[in-house]
């Protein structure tokens, strides 16, 4: 917020009641943890966690020109989205770099919902609205204040949510969604998340948020459900090697550099940033996002230097202690010719040099079954 005051989500009082430790985040006062980051992290990996992600932005795009508009705006193939399906995509500059990453939900013919990062909500909306004004038959509106967003994540998410939902949430495919009720409250429920686990995200009206939160917590108590904060969200997403805007993605990075080339459907037709991406594909990427595990002692964090044989080749974008693997992990951009699975690197941590090894990502993949 430009005036320096922090916004509160509709779940603020629920966080206070649950003993959440609140911190400023992207202009919001958000819970960073409740019972403890490690405990919350492990709950999500083994049972379930409930997150408040109401700070995310929701932008409605509709009209007969909506599909062609989104097709021209974003790199993924919107024409392939069916009703009740969502996909991951990006908002790119002419240079093919990220303004933001986002989810695109298709609710019906000419009816889409975009979900964007909290910190970029206003600039994203300005970008989208300016382009929509040039496009026939499309309207856009910022509906962020009309939604609270809860993320129920973990292997027990299905058993917790299914008895409360008015439709078959267990039958939803990954990235599928449905609209109905949860415990009598209207909700859009998608099988999406940001933790590497199975789970759901529930979009509800702000005035219903606390009731839904409390109902889920009560329902999940016997399954080991814990309220979880942004701290666990970050360690979980990093283990799953999911990009975070402002860290792995920003307006200097392209999807190819970020290892997100699968989002880019070059052959679908013209879209913003396409030419730059075609050129980069032909020329090769100058740098790549790699995953590493620290083999020495210490934790590399964002901004720490990456060296190969004493030569500076890149910078850490995210790094943390992994509660699941009990070692320090991270992601870094390195010069493309320095990227090699198994390759030894060293990390500059507060004047010390710590050995690390490049490893495949994601670090964590949930067990099948």
């Amino acid at each position: 917020m430009s005036d320096g005051t922090l916004r509160r989500t509709p779940l603020y009082e629920a966080h206070r009641a649950a003993g959440g430790k609140l911190v400023p985040f992207a202009g919001w006062e958000m819970p960073v943890q409740f019972s403890g980051l490690m405990e919350e992290h492990r709950a999500v990996r083994t049972a379930a966690g409930l997150f408040d992600v109401s700070h995310m932005g929701e932008i409605r795009v509709w009209g007969r020109g909506a599909e062609s508009f989104l097709q021209a705006l974003t790199p993924n193939d919107v024409a392939r989205l069916q009703d009740g399906r969502a996909h991951y995509s990006g908002l790119l500059t002419e240079r093919g770099t990220y303004l933001d990453d986002l989810l695109v939900y298709r609710r019906g013919e000419g009816e889409y919902l975009l979900v964007v990062n909290a910190a970029n909500r206003q600039s994203d909306f300005a970008h989208i609205a300016a382009r929509a004004a040039q496009h026939e038959g499309v309207e856009v509106a910022d509906h962020s204040d009309d939604y609270a967003l809860l993320a129920l994540q973990g292997p027990k998410a299905v058993e917790i949510l299914a008895p409360l939902a008015s439709f078959d949430v267990a039958g939803l495919r990954y990235y599928g969604f449905g609209e109905g009720e949860v415990d009598g409250v209207q909700a859009l429920i998608s099988r999406t998340g940001y933790t590497g686990e199975d789970g759901y995200e529930l979009y509800v009206a702000p005035q219903d948020a606390i009731a839904v939160w409390n109902r889920l917590m009560a329902q999940g108590e016997s399954s080991g459900l814990l309220p979880a904060g942004l701290g666990a969200r970050d360690t979980l997403r990093l283990e799953a090697a999911m990009a975070l805007y402002g860290h792995e993605l920003d307006d200097t990075t392209t999807p190819f550099e970020a290892g997100l080339g699968w989002v880019v459907k070059i052959d679908k037709g013209e879209f913003l940033g396409r030419q730059a991406l075609v050129d980069q594909k032909a020329a090769g990427v100058p740098r790549k996002l790699i995953g590493f595990e620290v083999t020495g002692k210490g934790i590399a964090r964002e901004g720490h230097g990456v060296l190969v044989d004493g030569r500076a080749v890149g910078t850490v974008t995210s790094g943390t202690w992994s509660p699941t693997f009990e070692k320090a992990l991270g992601l870094a951009y390195v010069e493309a010719d320095a990227a090699a699975i198994g390759g030894e690197i060293s990390l500059e941590v507060r004047g010390r040099s710590i050995p690390a090894r490049q490893v495949e990502t994601p670090f964590y993949r949930r067990p099948k079954g």
Binding site: Q33, G36, M38, G231, D234, G298, I299, T320, W321, R350
Partner: protein
């Protein structure tokens, strides 16, 4: 919670004076604030440190904090058990989770530290 025979700093270290030596650790408040500590880096035994000098670091899952020496002196021991297993610091920051033992250059400066009452008041004041 805060032992009455310890002294405390505004950087949330505790000091237990034993003759011309003292033991230093971080307070339960500091440990709480950091969250679960996973690594501790401590100075070499035998190194001379100035009051307020950075002598190590404490890494939790999400943050790193510097450890400062509250007093001037020589490091005569470090707690290797905590270096090997940082859980000890999480469980018992005031006793088993001690970090370094120093031989004091002089007792100057000791009287600048807060007693338990003053430290609690400092925490309650919200200036921490």
């Amino acid at each position: 919670m805060y032992p009455s025979d310890y002294l405390y700093t505004q950087e949330h270290e505790w000091v237990r004076v034993e003759g011309d030596e003292c033991v230093v650790g971080i307070t339960a408040f500091a440990q709480e604030e950091l969250g679960e500590v996973v690594f501790v880096e401590l100075p070499e035994v035998g190194s001379k440190v100035a009051a307020g000098a950075e002598i190590g670091s404490i890494e939790s899952v999400k943050a790193v904090a510097e450890l400062y020496s509250p007093v001037a002196g020589e490091i005569v021991a470090v707690n290797d058990e905590v270096v090997d297993d940082a859980e000890i610091l999480n469980d018992d920051p005031h006793k088993a989770g001690w970090l370094v033992r120093l031989r004091l250059d002089s007792k100057d400066g000791i009287d600048q530290l807060m007693n338990a009452e003053a430290y609690k008041a400092f925490l309650d004041s919200g200036e921490s």
